[in-house]
């Protein structure tokens, strides 16, 4: 197992270095002068230009600059935002819990609906239920989620008036952030109605963000289940006279879930991409909206380090999924 872990890490390190080179290179190949861009100023005197250039280290050769950047990053210094003037890492850590909370709820939704739906479709294979579930899943899979979000806003916020349009909680409530997870903080604050407000803000974005993972998980669960159900040991279990519930629920499901877990892990990247759109539509103050805003405000230090941090998070999640996979499926380790 240790060798397996080390092997995975050995692949990860060059990839991370490559990712950091790409993030670093973006600023240098951008149209425009990096000194002007990074300082966020439009006009400056030549002396000041020299000074900033030296201050930022741009008067030195590119490889040296890159090594400096990498050293800074490894010691936790990701640079400062031009707009907020705060360290990029601080901004990230402030906003990331919002994205995490949203993604977590979306994933719960996707798993708890997707997996049972997929199992049910596989058991009732070819039936009307199977066809409707898979039809719905394909629609979900084809959904432009930015439009789906707008439709839900029109229906639930506009016509029915059930849910708020944007943000994480009503402006009526204020309490100091403790965990930065709004659901938990609102409970801790003890204010009446705060939790309900936070929850009602979370529902529509979670549905929107969870739609595509839900569809993918349902489809994957169905096909994994179908494959397992045709195996010999399932036939043996049936022949032994075990109840259908035991055969499906215990014998088949345990093996069918292995590929499903991989799929769920892969959805983390999909979620972070989806968060860009979902957070923009619902003005959700997470890292997706942060990146989009930074792109529009040309906040290059944020774009550079944001890309790096997000890619790092995804690589870490993929590593964990890989290790989990090795844990539940010993054949992979060798």
């Amino acid at each position: 197992m240790l060798r397996f872990v080390l092997g995975r890490l050995a692949v990860l390190i060059p990839t991370f270095i490559g990712v950091s080179i790409i993030a670093f290179a973006f600023i240098r190949i951008l149209p425009g002068d990096p000194v002007m861009l990074m300082s966020g100023e439009r006009v400056m005197a030549p002396e000041r230009y020299e000074q900033i250039s030296r201050q930022l280290g741009y008067d030195r050769p590119l490889p040296v600059q890159y090594l400096d950047y990498l050293t800074d990053v490894l010691s936790g210094d990701f640079g400062n935002s031009i707009v907020t003037r705060r360290p990029v890492l601080d901004d990230f850590l402030t906003l990331f819990p919002a994205t995490l909370e949203l993604s977590f709820c979306a994933m719960i939704l996707a798993i708890f609906i997707g997996v049972p739906a997929g199992i049910f479709a596989a058991i009732k294979r070819g039936s009307f239920y199977d066809q409707s579930i898979m039809g719905t899943a394909l629609i979900g899979y084809s959904m432009p989620i930015f439009w789906w979000g707008l439709l839900l806003i029109i229906l639930f916020s506009g016509t029915l008036g059930w849910t708020p349009v944007s943000g994480r909680i009503s402006l009526l409530y204020y309490f100091p952030p403790v965990t930065r997870f709004m659901l938990i903080d609102s409970l801790l604050s003890g204010q009446a109605g705060a939790f309900k407000s936070a929850l009602s803000h979370l529902i529509l974005p979670s549905i929107v963000l969870g739609t595509i993972p839900l569809a993918v998980i349902a489809r994957q669960t169905r096909s994994a289940m179908l494959e397992v159900l045709s195996e010999d040991y399932v036939r043996t279990a049936r022949a032994k006279g075990l109840s259908p519930f035991r055969v499906v629920g215990i014998h088949a499901l345990r093996n069918a879930l292995i590929p499903v877990i991989t799929t769920i892990g892969l959805q983390v990247g999909v979620m972070l991409a989806g968060a860009i759109l979902t957070e923009t539509i619902f003005s959700w103050p997470g890292i997706g909206k942060w990146m989009v805003d930074s792109v529009f405000k040309r906040d290059y230090p944020v774009i550079q380090s944001g890309l790096l941090i997000i890619a790092g998070v995804i690589m870490l999640v993929n590593l964990i999924v890989d290790l989990l996979y090795g844990l539940i499926n010993p054949r992979i380790r060798h």
Partner: protein
């Protein structure tokens, strides 16, 4: 001599026809796939003949008719069947012209990603060694970013616009083709027919692209259908974020972005462009499922 050559050609022709017939047999068994194909053909026709079908020019503004609802709602007018947007442009005409952009995006992105991905993947799978390691690492690096985020930043770097959006999307899709091609080529490379061709004196180039590659096409075709629909979705998303096609282009995602401020006042300006995207993507995905069933021998009889 000429006779044997022509019989040989005939036989090849016949076997190709037989394979096509088999393909169509499995494809047409999937009802969804046939429906998807019909919708897709319809979309192609709409895109080709948009100037003939559309009642108005896509960018013509009718100042006396802003935010007119569809004809079946109170206040709707027959001249604008699906209503007009905030500056008085006919929704239906813009949607019909929009089909051109979406299909064009799908074709260009898929072509770019497919050709570069196949070439790079074949080289990696055929030569192995350090070439393979470098290529695989590079692809891992691209895949480490969320695709839409990478495309967004790329477009920001290159400058917003439809062409740059297509290039960015092709770039983030191409690693999937590289991986598929590489795996398929590695599987085929050690087969006897490849060795035979090599012994007969075929060079590397011929072995790679004439001998091996034609036997690796099935997964690539399925992936192409998938990336066609993803390309349309991603381009619309970039358009929605303001980084794809720029106004007043009647691209569906861009139309959605322009209509955002009216969502609670005029449902039709939001509903129709998104519905158009959904129908197009759904049709292509249905076809993709049918292609997979028809081309994948492992799933064929399940």
């Amino acid at each position: 001599m000429t006779q044997t050559a022509s019989t040989h050609a005939n036989m090849q022709d016949a076997s190709r026809r037989a394979r096509l017939a088999e393909f169509w047999y499995y494809f047409s068994e999937n009802r969804g796939a046939v429906v998807g194909l019909c919708v897709f053909v319809l979309l192609v026709i709409v895109a080709l003949f948009a100037p003939l079908i559309a009642p108005h020019a896509p960018n013509a503004q009718f100042r006396d008719a802003t935010l007119v609802p569809p004809f079946w709602e109170a206040g709707g007018r027959a001249a604008y069947p699906l209503g007009t947007d905030a500056v008085g442009r006919d929704m239906l005409s813009r949607l019909l012209y929009g089909a051109r952009y979406s299909l064009f995006i799908g074709v260009v992105v898929t072509f770019l990603a497919l050709t570069t991905g196949i070439i790079i993947g074949t080289i990696a799978g055929y030569f192995r060694g350090w070439v393979d390691t470098v290529i695989t690492r590079l692809m891992d690096i691209i895949l480490a970013f969320p695709s839409l985020l990478l495309a967004l930043v790329l477009v920001a770097v290159l400058g917003p616009g439809l062409n740059n959006a297509m290039i960015a999307i092709a770039l983030v899709q191409q690693p999937h083709y590289v991986r598929l091609t590489r795996a398929a080529v590695m599987g085929e490379k050690s087969r006897d027919y490849v060795t035979a061709a090599r012994v007969a004196g075929a060079g590397n180039f011929r072995l790679m692209f004439r001998t091996i590659l034609p036997n690796c096409t099935a997964p690539l075709i399925v992936q192409a259908a998938l990336s066609f629909s993803t390309a349309i979705l991603d381009a619309a998303a970039l358009g929605f974020l303001g980084m794809g096609a720029q106004p007043p282009t009647p691209e569906w995602g861009t139309m959605l972005a322009e209509s955002r401020e009216f969502i609670l006042r005029a449902w039709w300006v939001v509903t129709f462009p998104g519905l158009a995207i959904l129908i197009t993507v759904l049709a292509i995905n249905l076809m993709g499922d049918g292609l997979r069933d028809a081309l994948d021998p492992k799933l064929k009889r399940s």
